[in-house]
Symmetry: C2
């Protein structure tokens, strides 16, 4: 039956791909010429029995309309083909609309369309279906297909298709920028080996008994070897792999723009990355605009979208704003103090202040069970736009917020919000006592935010243990972010499409072990904050290694924009003795553990120059620049939270044959 | 002791990477200015106690010389640092030599050196070692390091370093060319799943019981899905993986420039690839020249090599010749007939001719044991340059050749060479008999090569079974290649640095199963020659599928240059019914086998347009263009024939913990 079916297809002319007339080239597009075009039959309007209009969708080309005007039989042909099917069309050009784009590139001999043509009208001569779009797929505006139909989502979703196009553009621009300033792309192996760098790696068994490759969590070790090899500036768009329990918006494989510079300081690397990133808005603006549809902001190509409505939408869209440079550089201590998070969103117009010095003990004991002089912090949120009664509106806001607090905050860390309300005693702040109320508004250093309070202003209070900052955020830091997002979504603060970049620097070198990250497996009770190759920041931090390593700061820097960590880097330890000392004496790794890094130690030993580098999360960069919160929206075939690619149904079942190949001692389990 | 050692380093100033003065930028390079430079101390000449000259090697920069002229203490400083150590230098510029390059790019604010400066002379002010090059590494001209010291090989080998630089250049040029003609880069997953596409895949176990990813042998299936998704031109520099027993010059992971075009024919794809490839010589010539050292031809950068001798060598080197286009297109039948190989080297000035029609049966039975009218083929080799006695020289050549025949030829397929020698009866050809001798020189059609034989000409005869061509080469084809290589290496033929490209087309769709390739696991007794997605060439080949599938030709094309297959591609089957028919009814794959391709069948089913593509072996392309026979010479960290990366010592031992993580039912083997 398969045979018959397929022979029918051949007879219906759908296997004619080997007999297609040569497609026309840019130079053929002259009014009156007959041209051959291939594309999808994308729209059809039946005027009457004789006259049918149809659009042929060609990617990277103009809007193309064919009419059946020259013969009635053509109208029948146009109507007989199912919409969205691929077709080969021959027609006579009756009209060509051109538009001059500044950035229009000269047409190459291979270009199918002149780059300045935006509309083509054709009188149909022949049309031939090349395959059939099936009946069972229902299309509607903004249809969402299940993940198993990713191909249909890419084909029919403008946001997704445009984001993938923007991704390609950003990637190529970054490469050319890097090339311009002397970086060389070097590819490093994906079949690497297991080392205790910090994350759990996927293993790849080999047919050599008990030997396995591991997929790299990053090209870190290879790129450091390249520095020892005398490469001055290395870069690579590297695929990286981590076998982690997937948290929101992580993928088991991801792409990073990985770079490293020998003879460089962290400062040099930050300068280089900043110069790269700040070139991006101009590149994007040359080809795309940002448009909004159904509340979602996404890019659209300015020309050659194959659809005139989209082209008009794009032309009236927004350009990317330029990025203010140099990016501010704030220390870990400072961002934790001011924002309660190590990846602050600088668009948020309010900061955290420490207030326990002015609060009555009674208030403190009311808002927390913590003993031993807890630290109390607060921030003031002032709605910028208010409808109706400010106090009422803020009270509603507070209720909604508390009900939707970020996960992991609910129990111990619920903040105490107080709405400023002049119609209440002490404007609603009576729980602070008179002295607290006065002090808060005293304009004392650090308390300026609490001056001039207005009706509807909300102050959020939260206590925390009195100890140094650790990890990525405090509870109040997360609440501050949640307040901002909720306020924007409720229209209490204006949406801000700016990109506020900053560097966060001077992280602690080590952090106490936790259950999530395997770390380096040493017995010190702590692990490297980022990886064990980060250099101590100053000579003082070198000394701290021997006395109080948890206080030592590393020369590490994170690039953050709008609350998203885009990437991180560091100056590396370039002296073999120091590297071995950190691994063996500070982290207390086993001999076997240290031995797994012997290639790196050897590379440092042979006079390796100082070096520093960076890894930019490319998926995340593209997501941020194209205004989506999920990297899945910028990856053609993303994996689900369970690590599955639902389009191809991977991973698949391991077969007995594979088990016998890679684990010769293995026997299939006997059924019990 | 580690701690002490490292504190000594710090005290010796080697951990000063955090206190380096900012490096000077291009704009600072003015005579009389004081500049800060970082690089390797690469050469030293001690004139006398007071005067020492030294070179600072900076990658991507000019030749830099410092002198101790301004103070005697500086000469001590210069002499105290071990050669090849990384240093930070401050000095006063006493001389700047400039050279104007046509292609010199404008300096960016991050450029460390003006691009037109080729020599800088400095009076030393300070020099500080940043690490120490160890005593135990012995350097000599053209030193070869073991694979475990790949970092030193990259650092000290000009050919390797330049080839890696050329690789980066070629890659970026290809990307920009593809972008120019409307291709979009799309990244596809590396964590894929196992499918019977043709090669054995590496598997990547997951923590979900019995589920594994597989590493892709190519992005073939994903890129076809992208065609169904409406992407018009896709490309990707894709890492591909095959768990094969490594033959010479194969790597378990390799890079291919993968591309696919929807609505395209094979012709369209060949045109696109040809236009890409022919742009490469100009790009290479803008930055490199080919030089020869110790018999090896390799690229050197024209400028910014950091070494004036290298710069001069490059400037007197050879440019890449342009590639004659359009590339000839020859069918599989034709190349097998004329060259006995499906990847012919068109530089070889002699071809294979069928001669059994003129040979006496006696001669045939003398040179072969084959019965049933074997086919006898021959070619004439004429040395172009001869020293002394031509006959003697050719006789020596023949002996050497027969002793060094390519592997796998020795037994049944030793050719019969006859040296033309006018001093012998019938010029040495008496075994052909008089009629054979006359006929050979008769100038009959197809025998023109054997006219005007001269002393020292050699005719190689070899018989083969009388059946259609199969596989990649005949024995005589391999011998012909061996004769050419040996003749060039012995100086009997001139070395030819041209690049002779061609397309080989019209391959058989299927070939009988063999032991090496797993194929598709169907029960038909044959497998797809390339992969099961290749479309039949013409309607006639479609019909042959049902009647005599082994005779059906596929619309497949290989790109070949100088005897090297650079890549292959095909028009794909774009109709789900035809694809399923080929899998199920022609290859006779099991239901389970076909099921593994259900994502592809589904993608074809939804009106997928016709499409065709190509995969260019990028490692091999770079190897050929940079005149090396081994892809290991163009890969920073290649793997050995046993799949080991000897630099990092991968693969590594699987730990019990890893086994328990990925195979929870597994128990460590009890020692017996």
């Amino acid at each position: 039956p398969g045979g018959k079916k397929y022979l029918n297809c051949v007879r219906n002319g759908q296997n004619t791909a080997n007999r297609l007339p040569p497609e026309s080239k840019a130079a053929d597009f002259v009014e009156g010429n007959r041209v051959n075009i291939r594309g999808f039959l994308s729209k059809r309007r039946v005027q009457n029995a004789e006259l049918v209009f149809a659009n042929i969708l060609v990617t990277n080309g103009p809007n193309i309309q064919v009419t059946s005007a020259s013969s009635q039989s053509y109208s029948q042909a146009l109507r007989s083909i199912r919409l969205h099917s691929p077709v080969a069309v021959t027609g006579t050009i009756t009209r060509l609309d051109k538009e001059d784009f500044k950035a229009a590139k000269p047409d190459s001999p291979l270009s199918r369309f002149p780059s300045n043509v935006v509309n083509v009208e054709l009188d149909l001569v022949t049309i031939k279906p090349l395959n059939v779009f099936p009946k069972d797929i229902i299309l509607s505006r903004d249809v969402e297909f299940p993940a198993s139909s990713r191909h249909l989502q890419i084909r029919f979703s403008n946001p997704l298709r445009s984001r993938l196009a923007a991704r390609a553009r950003i990637g190529l621009e970054l490469r050319n920028s890097l090339d311009k300033v002397g970086f060389t792309e070097v590819e490093t192996p994906i079949l690497f080996k297991s080392t205790p760098e910090g994350a759990r790696e996927f293993i790849v068994p080999t047919r050599s008994r008990n030997l396995a490759y591991a997929l790299p969590q990053s090209p870190q070790q290879y790129k450091q070897i390249l520095m020892s090899a005398g490469i001055r500036g290395y870069y690579q768009f590297a695929r990286c792999f981590r076998d982690e329990d997937l948290r929101a918006d992580r993928q088991p494989e991801f792409t990073q723009l990985d770079l490293e510079m020998s003879f460089a300081t962290g400062q040099d690397v930050m300068d280089a990355v900043e110069s790269l990133v700040t070139e991006l808005p101009a590149s994007l603006n040359a080809e795309f605009r940002l448009v909004e549809s159904r509340g979602e902001i996404h890019p659209l190509p300015l020309r050659n979208s194959g659809n005139s409505q989209e082209r008009r939408d794009a032309q009236s869209g927004l350009a990317w704003p330029s990025f203010a440079a140099p990016f501010p550089r704030l220390t870990y201590q400072e961002v934790m103090t001011r924002f309660g998070i190590d990846k602050p969103d600088l668009r948020i117009p309010f900061e955290i202040r420490r207030v326990d010095q002015i609060l009555p003990a009674e208030f403190v004991s009311m808002i927390t069970n913590l003993k031993d002089q807890p630290i109390v912090e607060a921030f003031r949120f002032r709605p910028e736009t208010r409808n109706g009664n400010a106090v009422e509106s803020s009270t509603t806001f507070v209720k909604k917020l508390i009900n939707n607090l970020p996960l992991g905050i609910r129990c111990h860390n619920v903040p105490t919000p107080i709405v400023f309300n002049t119609s209440k005693p002490m404007c609603g702040l009576s729980s602070l006592g008179f002295e607290g109320f006065e002090a808060l508004q005293s304009c004392a250093p650090g308390l300026e935010d609490f001056q001039d309070l207005e009706n509807g202003d909300i102050i959020f209070f939260l206590a925390r243990e009195n100890k140094p900052f650790q990890g990525g955020s405090t509870a109040l830091g997360m609440i501050r972010t949640a307040v901002y997002r909720e306020a924007v979504s409720m229209g209490l603060l204006p949406r801000n499409l700016d990109f506020k970049f900053l560097w966060v620097v001077d992280f602690p070198m080590f952090m106490p072990n936790n259950d999530e990250d395997p770390g380096q497996g040493g017995s010190a009770g702590f692990s490297a904050t980022h990886h064990p190759f980060t250099a101590p920041l100053t000579d003082k931090d070198v000394e701290l290694l021997t006395t109080d390593p948890l206080k030592a700061r590393g020369d590490h820097y994170d690039l953050v924009v709008n609350g998203v960590e885009l990437g991180g880097g560091s100056r590396r330890i370039h002296l073999a003795v120091l590297q071995e000392y950190v691994m063996r004496d500070i982290l207390r790794m086993t001999d076997t553990g240290v031995e797994q890094f012997s290639h790196l130690l050897e590379a440092l030993r042979v006079g390796c120059p100082p070096h520093a580098g960076f890894a930019l999360g490319f998926d995340r960069l593209v997501a941020v620049l194209t205004h989506t919160e999920s990297v899945r929206d910028v990856i053609a075939f993303p994996k689900s939270m369970k690590g599955k690619d639902l389009m191809v149904n991977s991973p698949g079942e391991i077969t007995e044959e594979q088990m016998r190949t890679y684990f010769p001692g293995w026997r299939p389990p006997t059924s019990s």
